[in-house]
């Protein structure tokens, strides 16, 4: 008797077994994009595992944080590897999350009946950015300290609730040890909790509804015709694992050739180093805010920018409800153009922001 049979006797796994046996993934020319979601999830798993390992040695206080990271990297066996993987995987995670987001955006997979999947997905994207922002401060080095100072300062530009938000984020008026404690709590408890809930929902919806097929391909189907299906288990899942291993390989190469530096310990009273800027995934928005004139339409430029980005975020969440044509199963050129514009904007402004002084 196998283990599965033993469990089956007690828990009745027939539903699950049937589901796994029957579950299929449609086969068509665009199916390569299907793997991005799983890869993002895998990287999240890597982050949780390496994060928990780092938790065993990290100390979230202004006097000890930097030293504890230094300790992990220099004294703990393979600490340098765990830390490097965590730092690089964070960047890859955000990159893949964006890739997954854009692929869904382009392929209009958000259309009816998958609106909720999209909503949970966009919220997850924001959560990943939150992870990146909160985690960046934790080593408490010069770069991260000042980047946080600038970033939370921008949060203060939100109208009405700006100052309150700034104080809430910083745990006070300035970036101090209190900020570090808060960001630590956010990074290891609050955000993981929210992410777990949303990921569970996101996956539940995907499993219930199956994979979406691009409109163009769907339209070519004759009534009653179904696309050929690939069995989820073992065909698709093995391909998924393959993709994950490729990601591991990329991580290993990055950790080997571009190890993450310790930097200098943060000194709150030091002068802000020239050219301070946030991590690459915030560069586009950061640079946009820098380019805005000091006054626009009678309001402070930065404030207009922040409100603008807030509006864009809300609109993004609402895309499935705004794209009527896609919901009807028709090709939606307008939203494709929007997606292209969005992608071009993000990529170009990230590059400009990187090379600007």
């Amino acid at each position: 008797m196998s283990v599965l049979d033993w469990l089956d006797e007690r828990l009745d796994l027939s539903g699950i077994r049937h589901f796994i046996a029957e579950k299929g993934v449609p086969v068509h020319t665009q199916k390569i994009w299907y793997y991005l979601g799983g890869m993002t999830l895998f990287l999240f798993g890597v982050q949780v595992s390496t994060g928990i390992l780092l938790l065993l040695y990290y100390r979230p206080s202004a006097t000890e944080a930097y030293e504890s990271v230094q300790f992990v990297v220099t004294q703990v066996q393979f600490g340098w590897l765990i830390r490097n993987i965590h730092s690089w995987s964070a960047n890859l995670l955000v990159a893949l999350a964006f890739a997954h987001f854009f692929s869904v955006f382009f392929l209009k997979s958000y259309r009816k009946p998958r609106e909720l999947t999209w909503v949970t997905g966009v919220l997850l994207l924001f959560l990943m950015l939150g992870f990146g922002f909160s985690g960046y401060l934790l080593p408490w080095n010069e770069l991260s300290f000042f980047a946080t100072k600038v970033g939370t300062g921008i949060a203060g530009a939100v109208p009405f609730i700006g100052h309150f938000t700034l104080r809430l984020l910083r745990g006070g008026d300035d970036v101090t040890g209190a900020t570090l404690s808060r960001f630590y709590g956010l990074h290891v408890a609050v955000l993981p909790m929210l992410t777990t809930a949303l990921v569970a929902l996101h996956l539940l919806f995907v499993q219930r509804q199956g994979m979406s097929v691009p409109i163009k391909i769907e339209k070519r189907l004759k009534p009653g015709e179904r696309l050929p299906q690939m069995p989820f288990f073992p065909n698709y899942i093995l391909r998924d694992v393959l993709a994950w291993y490729v990601v591991i390989a990329v991580l290993v190469v990055l950790a080997a050739f571009y190890p993450w530096e310790l930097g200098k310990k943060a000194d709150p009273f030091a002068v802000v180093p020239a050219g301070i800027r946030p991590e690459w995934y915030f560069l586009a928005t950061f640079h946009t805010l820098k380019l805005l004139p000091s006054h626009l339409l009678g309001f402070e430029g930065e404030r207009v920018g922040v409100v603008g980005f807030g509006l864009v975020a809300v609109l993004l969440v609402l895309v499935p409800f705004l794209d009527r044509r896609a919901s009807r199963g028709e090709s939606s050129r307008a939203f494709t153009v929007l997606a292209v514009l969005g992608l071009v904007y993000l990529v170009s402004f990230t590059i400009i922001g990187h090379y600007a002084e």
């Binding site: 390992l53 065993l56 100390r59 006097t63 000890e64 030293e67 504890s68 230094q70 300790f71 004294q75 703990v76 066996q77 393979f78 600490g79 590897l81 765990i82 291993y245 591991i248």
Partner: protein
């Protein structure tokens, strides 16, 4: 042929069975080695390192039994030198060994029972206070605790 009804094998062609088992073997080897490559570092990571914890706030200054009265020893406090001294009365004290004048490392003179900096003749007393010479301030004083008992008792110096 009565002995076997298997189709004759053509020379040089591998049977599908062999290829499959080769592939499975390759997969197993690959999986196991990559799993080891992942599990091994994680396992070693979990083992506590020799130095215990980051030495920001405290450091071990030596064994209590090894320090004779009216003698001192240099120890490592983070990346800077410290000096631990046992006075003639048996009292154990620890200070930063970084001279406050130009960062030279001070030493202990047993004849005068004072700390002396060889660079420009700065002299500190057993309380770390400046007695004479160029140092503008006294030596940073550490809090001393003895951990353990008997021969292996350790002197632990911590930042005040």
């Amino acid at each position: 042929m009565a002995l076997t009804d298997k189709p004759p094998l053509s020379a040089g062609a591998a049977a599908p069975f062999d290829r499959r088992s080769f592939l499975d073997a390759l997969l197993t080897v690959g999986f196991v080695s990559s799993a080891v490559a992942i599990a091994y570092p994680v396992g070693r990571y979990l083992i506590p390192p020799a130095s215990g914890e980051p030495a920001t706030e405290s450091a071990v200054a030596g064994r209590a039994g090894a320090l004779r009265p009216n003698s001192a020893a240099i120890f490592k406090f983070g990346s800077k030198p410290g000096i631990v001294v046992r006075t003639a009365d048996g009292d154990v004290r620890a200070f930063s060994a970084v001279c406050t004048h130009l960062d030279c490392t001070v030493q202990f003179k047993t004849d005068t029972s004072q700390f002396w900096c060889a660079c420009h003749n700065g002299i500190y007393d057993l309380g770390g206070n400046v007695v004479s010479g160029p140092p503008p301030r006294g030596l940073e004083k550490f809090v001393v605790n003895i951990r353990g008992e008997g021969d292996e008792a350790e002197i632990v110096a911590s930042r005040a």
